[in-house]
């Protein structure tokens, strides 16, 4: 399945947001996720299915002013 992840096209195996984070070796803390411009709440990572062509953003807090 192909998704746009943080602005780049990428082939993934994951079926859900939670899968994706595991595939990316990202602990599900200190980050937030949006799929197709909607935020996915942390409680829904396991159930939120990903589809081919999804646009996924995974963000964190960084220093700024």
């Amino acid at each position: 399945m192909k998704i746009t992840l943080n602005g780049e096209l990428r082939e993934i195996a994951a079926a859900t947001v939670a899968d994706l984070l595991r595939e990316l070796k990202l602990a599900p803390v200190g980050l937030a996720v949006a799929v197709n411009e909607s935020v996915v709440r942390r409680a829904n990572y396991e159930t939120h299915a990903l589809n081919d062509g999804d646009i996924v953003e995974i963000i964190r807090a960084v220093q700024g002013g």
Binding site: L5, N6, G7, E8, L24, L26, G30, L31, A32, V33, A34, E37, V39, R41, R42, E57, I58, I59, R60, A61, V62, Q63, G64, G65
Partner: protein, 256 residues
């Protein structure tokens, strides 16, 4: 000794709002935050880098302060809204420092788009602190939309030029009720004090501290400056005259 700043019902322990730094280690940042006395620090929201180990997490260094996510570098309403929503989810806060930028060189706000984004975000339950021009009409509209504060810039972001237009800030103060936080442009302590003396409710600092030769000293300087400025505002300064009057008695002088 001075009165507290309250935003959206939350009383803050300091009138200094503070960035989390740029080109500075988390340790220095943490030290500066503590020395500054701030209660509210901003952070940006950025994509997790996928090809590098993520290292330490900023949030772990911000345990004792309230964190205010911003929408810095967003150039349109859609990006600002998604960034705000991601920040809310990430940091478990409905406060957001709304920025919609209009020009990449100067980082001046696009006030028209900021108003549009603010309207949508307020409907979505956000508490908005918008970065904007020192423009009375824009500030009035933001207040009427229900923003929790307005954050006019004193000078371009990162310029350190100080309060470029005290007249505009004075007029905004006269005609606006909600808190006014000067965002951007303050470069040194006297300018922070001056902002408060103009009746501004707070200042947001970043480059002035982290860009100083000794950031820790400047953090303390700014803490004192903000207190000084607010107290002076509350004290009510002496009137100005072209020349004054003797400060020692004119009678009883020993003379020949």
């Amino acid at each position: 000794m001075n009165s507290k700043l309250t935003i959206d019902g939350v009383e803050l322990g300091s009138r200094l709002l503070f960035g989390t730094g740029k080109n500075v280690s988390f340790d220095t940042m943490k030290e500066c935050i503590e020395l500054s006395g701030t209660d509210l620090v901003t952070c940006a929201i950025r994509r997790v880098p996928l090809n590098e180990s993520s290292g330490q997490n900023l949030i772990d260094y911000l345990k004792n302060v309230r964190v205010l996510p911003n929408t810095a570098m967003c150039y349109n309403v859609k990006d600002a809204i998604l960034t705000a929503q991601l920040g809310r989810e990430l940091l478990d806060t409905n406060w957001v420092k709304l920025e919609v930028i209009g020009d990449a060189d100067t980082l001046f706000p696009d006030n028209e788009l900021t108003l549009e984004a603010a309207k949508i975000l307020i409907k979505d339950g956000f508490t908005i602190l918008p970065y904007c021009s020192d423009d009375l009409i824009v500030c009035q509209k933001l207040e009427q939309l229900g923003c929790a504060a307005v954050m006019p810039l004193a000078a371009p972001i990162g310029s350190g030029l100080g309060i470029r237009n005290p007249t505009n800030l004075q007029i905004i103060r006269e005609k606006i009720k909600c808190p006014i936080i000067v965002d951007a442009g303050v470069g040194t302590a006297s300018e922070a004090a001056f902002a408060l003396e103009l009746g501004m409710d707070g200042v947001l600092l970043q480059s002035a501290v982290y860009g100083a030769k000794i950031p820790q000293k400047m953090a303390v300087a700014m803490k004192s400056a903000v207190e000084a400025g607010r107290l002076a505002y509350e004290a009510g300064r002496m009137p100005k005259k072209l020349y004054g009057s003797a400060s020692s008695p004119v009678e009883g002088v020993v003379n020949s």
